[in-house]
Symmetry: C2
Subunit: 175 residues, 2 copies
């Protein structure tokens, strides 16, 4: 058995840790650059990467009647408290409207305004598609699909880890 085979047979082969280390460092850099370059792509419309994500969520067919703040927070994977601040700025800028839910007085329904929809469709979307083209310039359809697949797997595993971490403290109380 060669040294490499021995490493692969072991529980935590050095090569895999080294690869994982690079992967997460690049993912960290990518997160920083996404916020920076994404916000710059739509700054002329007074938007940011995060506000772009909100408008993208609300522009879906499924969200035509609006979304509750809680549902939107879960969809974007941010905290409700953070989303509240984001939404208040977007409401201030006239992109969205927040109205109390008539059926459930606890929650509020978020929807795009006509002005927000026009800004999104006519101004932001062309900029966003140009942004996609520039970042994915050397990606084939197959490359893009593969990258998407890997992101989904990582995301699933992060969500599972997040979910167990959220329930574990209760188990700790049982000690």
């Amino acid at each position: 058995m060669t040294a490499t085979e021995e490493k692969i047979r072991a529980g935590a082969p050095v090569a895999k840790i080294e690869l994982a280390n690079r992967l997460f460092f690049r993912l960290y850099q990518c997160a920083n650059m996404l916020h920076k370059t994404g916000s710059r792509a739509v700054e002329a419309e007074g938007l940011t990467t995060q506000q772009w994500a909100v408008l993208g969520a609300l522009s879906r067919k499924k969200a035509e009647g609006g979304m509750s703040v809680g549902d939107l927070a879960r969809y974007l994977m941010v905290s409700r408290q953070n989303l509240a601040g984001l939404l208040s700025r977007m409401e201030r800028d006239g992109h969205i409207a927040v109205a109390p839910d008539t059926r459930d007085r606890r929650s509020r329904i978020v929807a795009m305004t006509d002005a927000g929809r026009a800004t999104w469709r006519d101004l932001a979307l062309p900029k966003i598609h140009a942004y996609y083209d520039q970042i994915l310039v050397d990606f084939s359809i197959s490359d893009t699909a593969h990258m998407l697949h890997y992101l989904l797997k990582i995301l699933e595993n992060m969500q599972r880890l997040d979910a167990t971490a959220a329930t574990d403290p209760i188990a700790d109380d049982a000690d």
Copy 2:
């Protein structure tokens, strides 16, 4: 020629835009979850995902003698101003030391303290390796290498876009 072939021949095929849309949305979610689950992984050591990145950078062989604040900001792809705050908190917590550069009085040199190095090696690294294992549980070595390759390509394109955006305003002045 089929409809699909026609789309692929066109400048911006619908399928690619749709894939790009999903990819960037998942990347956005991934960025949020990386900060959340990464910080949780090292919270017992008083660290965050960002501080983990700083210690990771300083623990490299190349950075044994410390790094200037500017070099560290470029390496992590964050702004100098942001890094300054991060470093002051890490200095307050005793993980790093910041000393003036004797050769260049403009800059300051950042290095790990002995305590920071011990925390990193003995406490943080085992947690981080366990984190890697949980997130990349169903990734083969090949999967990990492919994902890393895609991240690098996206990062290169983001950096190019960032660089041109930073120089374009000067061109605007020439108008």
